[in-house]
Every structure is written in C-alpha cells, then in structure tokens.
Amino acid sequence: MTTPGMPIGSPLPDPAAGQGGLDQPAVTESAAEVHVATKLEETSGPGQTEVLRVEDLTVSFPTDDGLVRAVRGVSYAVHEREVLGIVGESGSGKSVSSMAVMGLLPKSARIAGKILYRGDDLLKKSPKQQRALRGKKIAMIFQDPMTALNPVYSIGDQLAEAVLSHEIMPRKQALARAEDMLALVGIPQPKKRLDNYPHEFSGGMRQRAMIAMAVINNPDVIIADEPTTALDVTVQAQILETLVQVKDEVNAAIVLITHDLGVVAGMAHRVLVMYAGKPVEIAETDRIFYQPRMPYTAGLLGSIPALESGGSGSRLRPIVGTPPSLINLPKGCPFSPRCPLATDVCHESEPALEPTDELGHVAACHHWDQLADVDDPTVFFRTESEAV
C-alpha cells in the first residue's frame, strides 16, 4: 500500500493501490504478536527487520480512588519502514502505552512486560541507557504543536539541543543539521527560520518542526501520538505526507496513534485497535476496514460519516454508551455493556486475542464468526429503522 499522496479525505484505502507491500502475511507462534512479513518491493514498504516489539505491556497508576489499569497487556511489533496504526477511543490507553515505550511515564506508574528495541529490553536498562535511546533511536511527536515547543527558545536552539543531547559537537554543526532537517520537512528559508521562536510559526509549521526534531537523529522508530488532531484539515494531509516522506528518508518505522480511521486508512500498513487498555484486534489495514472481526472495530467503522456500505444514508452511528472505568473493570468482555452481539459468555469471561479466519488477523471476541457471516459488519450498530 503506497501511502504518500493518498487523499486523506477518503477513509478507505484504494484497493487497487493498496496491495503493493502487504501480501503474504505470515503468522508467528503467538497469536498476540502477529506481524506481517513483507517483500521489499517498494522502498516505502515495511522491511524484514523488527525494530520494536512490545510484549504483554501493562501499566497502572495508583490513585486516590484506586488502581487505574490504563494498559492491560499490549503486544505488538513494528518493522523497518512499517507504519502501525493504533486506534481506539479516548482513554483506551494509546498514549500511556507509547509513553511507556518512551520511558516518559510519571514515577508513580507501575509498568510490567517487555519493551524490546532490537531485542534489548528497555525496561531492564538503567535510566541513563534509556535516555541514550530516547530521542536518538526512538523519537516521539506529540499531539499539540502549540504547546509542545518551549516558547522561550528559538526553533534552532530546540532542534540543535536534540542533537547535542546525544552527541557533543560544536553548536554550529548542530544548527547546520537543524537547518537541513527544516528543509527536509518542507519549511522554506530554513536558515532564517532557525532564529524564529515557536510563536512565530503557524501550527502546521510547528508540527513540521516537531517532525524535524523527531528525525534529526535518524531514529529507527517514530511514535506519532495524534500528530494531526490539533491541526485543521488541509494542514493535516500535508503533515501526514511529510511524515511519510521523512520516514522513508531515514528508514524509520512509525507507530501512528490516532482517533481518525481516515488517517489510518491512508497511512498504516497494519492497525491495532485498542479498547479499555487492551488490543482487541490486529490486522492489516484492508482487513480492518473490510472484514473486521471484533464488534468494537465494526462500531468504529460505522461511525465514519463517509462510509457508504449498507445503502443507508451517511448518518453517524456512534457506539452507544461509554467505555468502562479502568478502576473497576466489569467481569467478562469489557465491551459487553455496549456490544449488540453480547451473550452470556461475554459477560462471564474476557475473550483473549485469537486468530480468526485469516492468517495474521487476530481479534478478541467470542463471536467473531458472526461478523464473518455478514457482508457489512457495521449492520449491527444501526438503529432499527436504518437496519431494515
């Protein structure tokens, strides 16, 4: 699936363009860690080498009201140049799991599991070793470019600092690199812009600067946490395009966190859907959009306005209800209170992430086969009158 240049407005990947890099998925032993091995047909397609693997990551926060179990067993792997999309409702633990990878969680957080960067467990490393990787091998782009840059230092200063945090070199040299990076992310007159302060940049330019900062040390993994949510629509597309270009330039993998299925459709090779701190479905992007095997995913698809797949109008069909409290999780499937397919077994036992009808497609649902039986899985989320 070649992503750059794809119009972001259309939520679904163009099937014709999509097949390039992603055929022949292979499955590893553990279903929860499925990844897609790919042929290196295109430079932008994912490579073979696994750069980041997260295994059974759990994060909880002790609070006054009890233990908040924000992440409850997340596993995934990303390869060189691969884009892994992580989607899920607000509060599903997307940011917390990626902050855990960055080692940026507050001290109060209790973290368990493994975070393997090229095979080394980051959680076993000393703070100093973690710091050496942070920003150098694993970089992060944040949601709000308006607040993510320090208002009192110039853009050049802040970019150079990213270099100087990992290498001692004359400032001039670091600034030169910063200038190159600004040029790379498409900021005109980069030399002049180095001396600007963040408030002299527009939102889109700041996010470009953030991207420049993230890639300045040639990282292997870039975690982009909702990089376009705070920007207006026209700028979003440009920023995503820049992100993909830059990724190819430095051969990095991207973990792209977003609410926006449209963004995922346009960019990601694979998608991980999170619900209540757990991955509930992992598959390659096309499968997620056309053959979801988890009702929650189907519900998300049903709430995309432009998705015209059941003949009904373009009415929003939000999933009713709210996500469960992460302090007192109910027994059984966390989605069961909101799930139209829920049965007794759903209220009793929480489904594990298991293989479905296609290699490399895993889902956590007792009744995934019911979704496989219908043409349009979003049908379960329609109101009566619509579903006729």
Binding site: L105, P106, L316, P318, T383, S385
Partner: protein, 332 residues
C-alpha cells in the same frame, strides 16, 4: 427505511440546549461537591479550621463580648495585686506524671505588671485581632471584587480609570498607608480601624478579578446572556462571579491571614489599637522588653497570633487545592 427528518438518535437543537442547561447545573453541583470533598480531605486545612474555631470559641466565650458575660470570672481591665511574681498558674502536666495536675488556677496566663489578669487580656486581644482581620478581609474582598468585576466587564474608559486608580493605590506600600490611616483612626475603635484598612487592601484582588473577567467575558455563555438582553448586573452576579468564586474565596482567606499580621504590626508600631483597649500585637509590643524577666507576657499573645495566622493560611491552602487541584499535581 430511515427517514432523515424523524428525530432519530441525533438530538434536535432545542433539546440540545435544554440538555445543555441541565448538564451545566449538574456539572456545577458536582463541582461544588468535589470542592467540598477535596477541602474536607485536606488534613492541614481541616486542622486549621478546627483550631481557628476553637480559638474563636475560647476567646468569645471566656470573657464574653458586648454585654454578654463569659465563663471566666476576671476582666481585662481591673488592676489587682501581683501574686507570685505574676507567674502563670496554668498547668497541663497531670500529677501522675509528676506535674502539679491539670488546672487553670487563679491566673492561667499570669498577670501583667499592674496585676491585670493576662488570660483575660490575651482573650481580649484575640477578639480584637480577629474582628479587625475579618473586617479588613471582607471589606477588601468586596471592594476588590467590585472594582475588578466592573473594570473587566465594562472595559473601555471605566476599566482605564479603575485600573489606573488601582495602579496608584498599589504604589503606596500597604504598611505605610495602613500606618498613616492607623495613626488617624487607631483610637476610633476597632471597627473603624478595620474599615479604613480594608479600604486600602483591595488592590491585588481587583487586578486578579479583572483578569479573570476579561477571560470569562469571551466565553459563549456570557455572550449568549448578553445577546439575550440580560442586564449587566445580572450577568456579572449570576453568570460570571460564580465562575471565579474560588479565586475570590481563596484570596479573601489569605487576606484575613495577612490582616492578622498587619494589625499586629500596626499595633506594635503604635499605629493600631490604642490604650485602654488591646490587641495581640499591642500586648507583644508592650511586653517585649519583659522577655527575660517575665517571658509568658511575650509568649502567650505571640503563640495566639501564630496559631490564628497559621490556621487561616492552612485553610486558604486547602481552599486553593480544593478549587484548583491542578495546581498541585505534576505529571512527573
């Protein structure tokens, strides 16, 4: 088939507005509950509140006030013979611990050099100090809120005049202007003294309230109210002030704490409460040189000032945390 005109799951605008109004009041109530809960959980603030209430109770019930008699049989003006060097008779160590038992005795806090009962004197001091501090706090808060709200709401020339006036008043150091006023009004009784000092302690709050109002003014609900033709007074009182009540209450509390110390300082310098009346600051001032011979004359009023100021400061801190919990949390 679905009919886009029938009210489906999507709410119609009127219903939305109604739901919104309801939602807002619900939010407001839970907000107040949250504030209360956070305040009651704040241990230092609760300690402060209890201590303050106890001190007030003790001071006003012991020697009485106005024409209401108290349970303590001595007054703070009668001169008597000095017994046992005026030493305090208060004892808190029980006999079984080798002390002289728990009792108040004839003069629990001792006597001053002319034999006045020092407990009664101290209680009188507490009464006066607290009264002045509360008057100052209330007057300053009311004026500050009025000035700030008017300036922030009306903007334009009104704001310019009011804020320039505030700038002028802020230039005069509080202690200086309070001393000058105290020199003039110190012997007119504590109510007058409290009022005039209150007249000059509103400046910081005025700036604060104005800032908050400038921000609130742009909010939708204020614009909506204005568009609906609601009167300015009603918008200010009903819609805007409740939103910044936290700022005002916290500031008022801290103003009371500051006023306790200000009154003490003025009386100490001789520009506050005058003879024959007394206050805690005046007692310390009178007996500071007696420290090496009769230290209790110095300790008791001092301990009460500190206890009151500390209690009020803790209450203020608890209120601030309760209204703005964000201030005390950090991600890392």
């Amino acid at each position: 088939m679905s009919d886009p005109t029938t009210p489906g799951p999507g709410p119609v605008p009127a219903a939305a507005a109604a739901a919104d109004v309801q939602g807002m009041t619900v939010v407001a109530r839970t907000q107040a509950q949250m504030v209360r809960r956070r305040f009651f959980r704040h241990r230092a603030a609760m300690g402060g509140l209890i201590a303050l209430l106890l001190i007030v109770l003790l001071a006003f019930s012991s020697i009485g006030f106005a024409n209401v008699p108290g349970w303590w049989d001595k007054d703070y003006w009668s001169i008597a013979t000095v017994e046992n060097g005026g030493r305090p008779t208060l004892s808190v160590i029980p006999t079984w611990l080798g002390g002289s038992g728990v009792h108040l005795g004839e003069h629990p806090f001792g006597q001053d050099n002319v034999g006045k009962d020092y407990f009664a004197l101290t209680m009188r001091g507490v009464q006066q100090s607290i009264t002045i501090a509360f008057i100052v706090g209330i007057v300053g808060t009311v004026i500050g809120t009025l000035v700030g709200a008017t300036a922030g709401y009306f903007r334009g020339r009104v704001e310019a005049v009011l804020m320039r006036f505030t700038d002028v008043m802020i230039t005069i150091p509080l202690l200086v202007v309070a001393a000058v006023l105290g020199r003039r009004y110190g012997d007119s009784g504590i109510v007058v003294l409290g009022l005039v000092i209150g007249l000059v302690t509103w400046t910081n709050l005025a700036r604060l309230v104005r800032g908050e109002f400038l921000a609130l003014r742009e909010k939708e609900f204020v614009e909506a109210a204005r568009a609906a033709g609601t009167s300015a007074r009603r918008i200010i009182v009903k819609h805007m002030l409740p939103n910044i009540i936290g700022v005002i209450i916290v500031s008022a509390t801290l103003a009371v704490a500051a006023a306790i110390l200000l009154e003490a300082a003025l009386s100490f310098l001789g520009f506050g409460v005058r003879d024959p009346d007394t206050s805690l600051g005046r007692l310390i001032s009178l007996y500071q040189s007696a420290f090496s011979t009769r230290p209790w004359l110095f300790w008791f009023p001092g301990v009460f000032i500190i206890a009151i100021a500390l209690s009020v400061n803790f209450i203020g801190d608890g209120l601030r945390d309760a209204f703005d919990p964000r201030q005390n949390r950090v991600r890392d």
